[in-house]
Amino acid sequence: MSDTENSSANSLSSSILILKDIAFQRNEELLFSNINMAIGSGEILQIQGPNGSGKTTLLRMLSMTLSPTLGEILWEGKNVNNVREQYLGDLLFLGHQSGLKKSLSADENLLWWRKLNKDNLLPNSDALECVGLTRDKSVPCYHLSAGQLRRASLAKLYVARAKLWILDEPFSAIDEQFANELKMLLENHLDNGGVVILTTHQDLEIKGMKYISLTSPHKSQ
């Protein structure tokens, strides 16, 4: 089971994303239940919990690749299933798998992704420079290190116009300097009225951060 630290019942009306009594069951096992959370513009939510507690599952639910067993997710007051296209248009999801093609370069990978999301981009042509991949951007991705791959994937943050960022472990494998840059990028997004939901084992210390804490299902039984 899980406990939610929900202090925002009073701001429910101004919330842009609301999780209502979310529960998820897989193979007869209840992974989590009673997840309630309301997030407004400019707010960041961190999902915490030990490995295997369902953080990624919850993120995949929020990106609509999984549907919750119980409960509903509301975007701007409407169930996401009813406003699917609009919600997905506002969403940028970076899972723990990069989605990068190993035989294409970082440049080609990003170009492909930009074409996929053509209607939803900022006119920013040097995203790979922003993540420090100037020199290696034309090299096939199988020559890149884990950190460089992560950077290539995070370059999407510099071109997406999406309001809601859902990031699975964005800080893994990257060095301290880029971690600071990424943190600033997140804060900048929040200042512009964006919403960030992420999992990380880092202590981010961003003001007004909200938390959902998942506990290991095995412990509670």
Binding site: R60, L88, G95, W112, L116
Partner: protein, 224 residues
Amino acid sequence: MTNTGFVAIFRRDLLLAVRHRGDLSNPIIFFFIIIALVPLGLTPESSRLSEIAPGMLWITALLASLLSLNSMFQDDYNDGALEQIMILPQPLYFIVLAKIIVHWLVTGLPLSLLAPVFGMMLSLPEYGYLPLMLSLLIGTATLSLLGAIGSALTLPLDKEGFLLPLIVMPFYMPILIFGSSTVQFAIDGLSILSPLAVMGSLFALFLFVAPYVAAGALRLSVQG
């Protein structure tokens, strides 16, 4: 709008196919090996070879197409690209269709174009070449469409490769029957219009149905 996903997937998959040139020639090499072995294993006598040629050519084309099915969605599934594709605010139908078309362009089309060469190796009469190519062009496209369904359904079962052939084989059978009879009819001097028409209608049917079903199967597979 709806076409951005189609165009982007289409171009990237073609680019990937070009980068993996080795995989590209696999079905053709497979085809070549079988056709080269048939005269050695059965008989080098051209009259008997030309008797079995239509069926042999079609069975081999079917197996070659089957062998290449695994790659349709598996790579995208393994590296997370499928997830990125599926959360696009666009209908999955066109995206799946783009992947099917590329699959056909890199497997079915080259096989169909090279078919007269393989036909020659099996002493297929010359007037059978064109019917063979025509039936393969339509037939392999239908195989790719059907294969997409099976490929999407078996996506989470990466290691259990035998399931995919089991699922798609029954649906492949009518195409094999009408495909080889198209060639047989041509050799026997009959009109090839009726078997070709059946193949054409099967193709038209699955062109509309298969991407929908495959898209639904993908959604299920990604949940698992």
